[in-house]
């Protein structure tokens, strides 16, 4: 149950670059107006990667709502489109399939690491409501939102 809720909410972090100076590229600055911040849907690839990071499994069967490219870019589409009723249905079905795959005995055994010598139970981590909290790659991330939306 908790796993299901977690999957449905594959959650997500809003990332904002830390307040460090951004190196200025040479040449004249392109005339681009910064758009207002907006929620972004996870793209299909991002969802699949998140599931892989979270559970170590791949979504094997069934479709997900296709991404929409706007101005040729999926990430722009992710910032402007919504999820259709069929899309909601597909994500729900995917969550159930993933839960079954994750709880499958073969997968549990394969993904359990062998204990290292001298290993003992670490202290219980502070519970967080999503598996996310800290980003990677030098970008500080802050959990903002859930349910396949990020800011």
């Amino acid at each position: 149950m908790a796993l299901l809720a977690g999957l449905l909410s594959v959650s997500v972090i809003g990332c904002h670059a830390a307040e460090e100076p951004i190196p200025t590229p040479p040449g004249p600055a392109p005339a681009v107006e910064a758009p207002a911040p907006t929620l972004r849907r996870l793209t299909e690839r991002q969802y699949r990667n998140s599931v892989w990071d979270l559970l170590g499994i791949e979504l094997l069967t069934g479709g997900l709502e296709p991404d929409t490219a706007i101005d040729g870019l999926l990430s722009v589409g992710a910032a402007q489109t919504s999820l259709s009723p069929l899309g909601v249905e597909q994500y729900e079905a995917a969550a159930f399939r993933l839960a079954e795959q994750a709880l499958d005995a073969a997968h549990r055994i394969a993904s359990s690491p062998a204990p290292r010598p001298g290993w003992s139970m670490p202290p219980a981590p502070v519970r967080r409501s999503t598996p996310w909290g800290r980003g990677r790659g030098g970008v500080r991330c802050q959990r903002r939102s859930w349910r396949g939306w990020s800011r």
Partner: protein, 445 residues
């Protein structure tokens, strides 16, 4: 556009639920008068038998000189391109001469948006979308809310489809007949009167969705207006799924024609590099027809092909869109492709007409709109659009007529006629150049 639902009325499911809840009834259920027509002979459409709406859409238009029928009013003959509809001719009306009144800034896409939403295409370049809901969703918002699926979209050519809940909120069609079968007639499907055990997982699924909705609501409070609208569309989908889970825990409606259809093939591989469009379309249409006979949905969109579709059809020497621009006049291949598409429309309509409901057929109880975003594809013409209406929407549409407009009337008039035929009281349809407040009176009954 002003749309208001005219009382949802009482359907048989509501009555049964109300009468049987918590009580043991030992007498037979008396037939209710409202379920009979004026002859008292059968269940009346709009009561126990729901009204349905369907859209059959194809891209790239037709050859108008071989499409428009000879003769008008009730005295007309099927043209070459409409000939495949011979078996259902008394149950269709043809409307010709209608036009789109918006500028055709983006050939094909401007026309599609104006045609189906009555609004101008929004955005520019590659960032374009319908500005508001398409006709199928306007209608689904009223007649689709009591069935398992508000609407179902299919495409035999993998089209993106043209069903919009609003700007940037497209309902993508299902391309695989097998996936559609699993979705509609998979393990959760129950035949009327089958009365199997209720799937215990339904309650679990409902509680998960409750949690999702609660979270979306929390998120909604933190974002701007534009994002709220997008989240509202997302939540609409979640609520629809919740409602479906609730309906799945009740007995299905008692519709005689409902039966478990044969499963389609798992895949339809290309033959000589050409997709099996006809076989896929027929498999999808058969499932759509049974989904309506079982009242799983009351609204469908079959997107045979997208605007600018370049599908390589059987026997064609090039893709469809390519041919519309590069084949020499009079374009015999474009003509043949159009006839082939109308043949698939005929398959759908004949299947609908084979389903008996009360003293009519499923087709009689429906309105199906078949249309395209252009007429002569070569010049992207947005006048004299191809339009076929099929079914009488329970007697609200006049069938068996050809109406020809000589003044290039606004095509939104056809949409307004259809919206009203679905018992939705609408003062107007469309916006700006697309706005009309009158329908096409010749096809209104």
């Amino acid at each position: 556009m002003a749309v208001e639902v005219q009382g949802r009325g009482v359907n048989r499911r509501t009555v049964l639920r109300g009468l049987l809840r918590g009580a043991v009834i030992s007498v037979g259920l008396p037939p209710l008068e409202m379920f009979f027509n004026s002859n008292g002979s059968a269940y009346a459409c709009g009561g126990a038998i729901p009204k349905r709406f369907g859209l059959f859409y194809w891209g790239n238009g037709n050859r108008p000189e071989r499409w428009v029928p000879e003769g008008e009013g009730t005295a007309w003959e099927l043209s070459e391109e409409l000939a495949p509809l011979v078996n259902v001719q008394p149950k269709i009306s043809v409307i010709s001469g209608m036009a789109i009144h918006f500028p055709n800034l983006y050939p094909h896409t401007s026309g599609a948006a104006a045609l189906l939403s009555g609004m101008e295409l929004m955005g520019s370049g590659e960032n374009i979308t319908f500005a508001g809901p398409s006709i199928d969703q306007i209608i689904a918002g009223s007649i689709g809310v009591n069935s398992l699926y508000r609407s179902i979209q299919t495409s035999p050519t993998g089209a993106s489809g043209l069903s919009y809940n609003g700007a940037n909120a497209r309902n993508p069609p299902e391309a695989s007949p097998w996936a559609l079968f699993e979705r509609l007639f998979g393990p959760a499907f129950q035949l009327p009167g089958e009365g199997g055990a209720v799937d215990p997982r339904l309650a679990l699924r409902q509680s998960v969705l409750d949690a999702v909705l609660a979270d979306l609501n929390r998120l909604r409070a933190q974002v701007g207006r534009a994002d709220q609208l997008r989240l509202d569309q997302h939540m609409e989908g979640v609520r629809e799924l919740e409602q479906r889970l609730a309906l799945l825990q009740q007995d299905p409606p008692a519709l005689d024609a409902c039966a478990l259809p044969a499963a389609p093939l798992q895949s339809y591989p290309d033959i000589d590099g050409r997709p099996q469009v006809s076989a896929i379309s027929r498999a999808q249409c058969d499932l759509l027809v049974m989904a309506m006979a079982c009242d799983q949905t009351r609204v469908f969109g079959h997107y045979f092909s997208d605007p600018v579709s370049d599908v390589l059809y059987a026997d064609a020497t090039a893709g469809h869109h390519d041919l519309t621009h590069n084949e020499l006049d009079p374009q015999p291949e474009v003509h043949e492709i159009t006839v082939g598409i109308v043949s698939e429309l005929a398959w759908l309509l004949e299947r609908m007409d084979a389903v008996q409901e009360g003293d009519g057929t499923l087709l009689d109880n429906s309105a199906v709109l078949a249309t395209s975003e252009v007429s002569l594809g070569h010049i992207h013409a947005i006048d004299d659009l191809p339009i076929v209406l099929a079914g009488s929407a329970c007697g609200r549409l006049q069938t068996g007529v050809h109406y020809r407009s000589y003044t290039s009337e606004n095509v939104s008039k056809v949409m307004l006629t259809l919206v009203r035929a679905m018992d939705i009281s609408a003062a107007s349809f469309g916006a700006a150049e697309g706005e009309v407040s009158d329908g096409v009176s010749m096809v209104e009954a």
